[in-house]
């Protein structure tokens, strides 16, 4: 009964989304306040109905109702509760329901918190948001219905893919979807602004927090996925340049560009049409990601639902929304007149450079991702584009970005002075180069990667510190420190996010340059050296878990004669899904991770054992956490909490 009500609620939400699309749009066109007023209750009702529907599906999973086809295919009574719940979105149909739930959540938030938006803009934003909803409700109801019943309910289910039974992966999809779908808000604002023919500072002040929130969630989602790959796949890889990873990375890059260009729109009323284009593209890349994951046109290790029929429908949705928005953009962009002027050396110019680098790097990822498809269709060549291409073609952009970032973020608005911006960076550049040289001297490998990572990391983090310090004005150190703590949160957010970028760059370079790997056959009782550590294999046992059996090794790690700790890597087997998984054991540390994996028993006795020493591995995700934290801090800025759009657009005193 609950299931049927959930199904019914979903259909009702579909109907309401159609109303939300049509009535307010016409109302805004005719300037009819009653018709425009339909948008808010519709958005809220739509959210409540989808929430009920999602709750009903979750209930079916929690109670293991195997009369539901989806529950049968993805759940099992022995599964721990948390994975029964995460099983709701661990499959195609359920994840689409989560997608529309978040879409409706963003729509309802815009309705609730959008009280001070101009009425017509709000009606149009909600109408566009409703239109996206219509497309995805139709997709779910006609091709991917999660509420289908089985005529004869089986006794037990087929279990969730064991790899998804993991805390990292349980929360990876919701965060990613909050990011992907959050960008729909920026899209709706962009399309609404194009229909209005007006983009001003107030518009940017509205778009920026939504984009920032989406970007923060995307950052967390990508970091969770990468962290999961690191500890779960058994050799510590954290990024594979797989089409599906790229699909999440492209909107992240564009959203990062949009965050920065929207600042220029907000503060200086320039780069308007460019920002609108970015807002459209950001969500376009989200839709492209959905297409890549669910169509199976690109072979990916993440293949989700490889159903061409569903793929074609998503392609149609993509074509309609992206094509429609871009057509509208072509027709109306010229109406968006930018007012602000700035000289060639200025913060605005630096942000233009930031946007150029981010947008082109996204283009590199894009062409690398779709090239196998294009080459096969147009040139009849079956080929692959893998990590070596992306490392060669993408990395230079990030290096360039890191080099210009500190100076650009110090430059003054409107008219900057390059030598004045470089001056506070001189000590940091000396420190960066000195530490880089030190790293080069003490490393055993002859690689430039590690030292370059050190230099860029120190340079970017130092730039944020220098920026904060400059913002503190003049006077005694105590007075300046006092002023730093009272700086607006947006400034702190900026500093944290930029530092995070520096930390991540350093972590990636250090880990890739200085990793040690050791693969060998070890017998119980063996002890061997890897780098400055030694390892011993003490025992190998068979243990039974809740829904799996496992081969567990007891290992000790030593440094000289001092024991650092015990490690117990596992090799699990899930009987229901008939799948083995590797559970590496990792001793996390600030300076290095020690990563051990137990393999199969060998014919001549002993086990295959792999040991990795991964320097500064945690800095990669530490940097991502800093970036996300920076986003949250910036979101809590006073200027955004207190009636953003109520404030009049700033008078452009300087531009007279």
């Amino acid at each position: 009964m609950i299931t049927e009500l959930g199904h019914f609620a979903l259909i009702l939400a579909f109907g309401i989304a159609i109303v939300q699309t049509v009535i307010p749009m016409i109302g805004a066109h005719r300037n009819n306040p009653n018709w425009m007023g339909v948008a808010e209750p519709a958005a809220i009702a739509q959210f409540l109905l989808v929430a009920y529907s999602f709750g009903a599906l979750t209930w079916a999973f929690v109670t293991s109702d195997f009369s539901l086809q989806l529950v049968f295919a993805n759940s099992h009574t022995d599964k721990p509760m948390i994975y029964k719940i995460s099983g709701v979105w661990g499959n195609h149909e359920g994840s689409m329901l989560l997608w529309v739930l978040i879409l409706a959540l963003f729509g309802a938030s815009a309705a609730v918190f959008g009280g001070n938006l101009p009425a017509r803009l709000r009606a149009r934003v909600l109408a566009v948001q409703g239109a996206i909803g219509v497309a995805f409700f139709a997709f779910i109801l006609f091709t991917s219905n999660p509420f289908l019943r089985l005529a004869v309910p089986p006794l037990n289910g087929r279990d969730l893919n064991p790899l998804l039974q993991d805390p990292g992966l349980a929360f990876h999809p919701p965060f990613l979807y909050l990011g992907y779908v959050g960008l729909s808000m920026a899209f709706s604002f962009a399309v609404a602004a194009l229909i209005e023919g007006k983009v001003d500072a107030a518009w940017a002040r509205w778009v920026r927090p939504w984009t920032l929130a989406a970007w923060v969630f995307l950052t967390i989602g990508i970091a969770l996925g990468s962290w999961w790959a690191y500890y779960e796949l058994g050799w510590g890889g954290f990024w594979f340049w797989d089409p599906v990873e790229n699909a999440s990375f492209m909107p992240w890059l564009i959203a990062a560009a949009l965050l920065h260009s929207a600042i220029v729109v907000e503060k200086r009323e320039a780069l308007k049409s460019w920002s609108v284009l970015l807002a459209i593209l950001a969500f376009g890349f989200s839709l492209l990601g959905a297409f890549i994951v669910r169509s199976g046109v690109l072979t990916s290790v993440h293949a989700f639902a490889t159903d061409p029929a569903r793929g074609i429908l998503i392609l149609i949705i993509l074509a309609v929304f992206l094509g429609g928005a871009l057509t509208l953009f072509a027709a109306r962009a010229s109406a968006l007149e930018s007012k602000g002027v700035f000289s060639a050396v200025s913060r605005e110019s630096a942000l233009v450079l930031n946007n150029v680098l981010l947008a082109v790097s996204c283009f590199v990822v894009f062409i690398g991702t779709i090239w196998p498809l294009v080459a096969e269709m147009l040139f009849g060549r079956t080929l692959s584009v893998g990590p070596p291409f992306f490392e060669a073609a993408f990395t230079p952009f990030m290096v360039a970005l890191a080099v210009v970032l500190p100076v650009g973020s110090i430059l003054a608005w409107k008219r900057g002075n390059l030598s004045r911006a470089i001056k506070p960076m001189v000590p940091w550049s000396i420190l960066a180069i000195a530490l880089g040289a030190l790293a080069y001297a003490i490393q055993t490998e002859r690689t430039a990667l590690g030292p370059i990572g050190v230099i860029l990391g120190v340079w970017v983090v130092g730039g944020s510190v220098a920026d904060l310090w400059m913002r503190s004005g003049r006077g005694s150190i105590k007075a300046r420190l006092g002023r730093i703590t009272r700086l607006p949160r947006a400034d702190w957010g900026k500093a944290f996010a930029h530092m995070g970028m520096g930390v991540t760059i350093f972590g990636i370079a250090a880990m890739m340059a200085w990793e040690i790997e050791d693969i060998r056959v070890a017998e119980v009782g063996d002890r061997w050296d890897v780098g400055q550590f030694s390892f011993s294999l003490d025992d190998v046992r068979q243990v039974e878990g809740p829904n799996y059996v496992t081969t567990m090794a007891d290992m000790d790690v030593w440094r000289g004669d001092r024991q650092l700790g015990s490690l117990s890597p596992e090799k699990r087997f899930y009987p229901v899904a008939k799948m083995p998984t590797t559970e590496a054991d990792i001793r996390n540390g600030i300076l290095r991770d020690i990563y051990v994996v137990i393999g199969d028993p060998q014919v001549n006795g002993g086990y295959a054992v792999r040991v990795y020493v991964k320097p500064f591995a945690n800095w990669i995700w530490g940097g991502a956490i800093l970036m996300a934290l920076g986003g949250f801090v910036s979101l809590s800025d006073r200027r955004l909490r207190i009636g953003a759009a109520a404030a009049k657009p700033k008078q452009m005193v300087a531009a007279e």
Binding site: F240, V301, V352, V356, A359, I367, K414, R415
Partner: protein, 146 residues
């Protein structure tokens, strides 16, 4: 989810990527093998190099790679050999021949274009910004005199 598809490759007997018994005694040669095998794609898996893959065919390829290198092949020769046997599909780093030039040149060309557009935008903005009109000059002169 990586493993999900991976498992389709082998189903029955899960083995590790690089097995201890495959490793060559000569560390220099072994390092070359690892470098090369990270650039070769496992033909039956979804987007994995033979270095990471657990599939039996990936293991065969790793063994062949080692045999060729021990026999004295250069890196280029062994890559050509692999491409000859399995097609350019196995190259994770696509070559820069024919249509692939588009792929390799897309990024630099796009960057030049974007920098050009960016520069024009900035110049247009600053042209408006810098000069004062004659009237304004005069007005400024007036103000400064007072």
């Amino acid at each position: 989810m990586k493993r999900l598809v991976l498992m389709l490759c082998l189903l029955a007997a899960p083995v590790f990527a690089v097995e201890p018994d495959e490793i060559l005694d000569d560390p220099v040669l072994e390092a070359r093998v690892r470098e090369l095998s990270q650039g070769l794609r496992c033909p039956v898996c979804q987007n994995e190099s033979i270095d990471e893959s657990h599939a039996p065919v990936a293991q065969e390829l790793r063994v062949v790679l080692r045999e060729r290198l021990v026999a004295g092949d250069t890196d280029a020769q062994v890559i050509d050999y692999m491409v000859f046997r399995y097609g350019e599909y196995v190259l994770l780093r696509p070559n820069a021949r024919g249509a692939n030039l588009i792929l390799w040149l897309a990024a630099p060309l796009m960057l030049l274009m974007a920098l050009g557009v960016g520069w024009v935008t900035i110049r247009r903005k600053s042209d408006v910004a810098t000069p004062l009109s004659a009237d304004e000059e005069a007005a400024l002169e007036e103000i400064l005199k007072q």
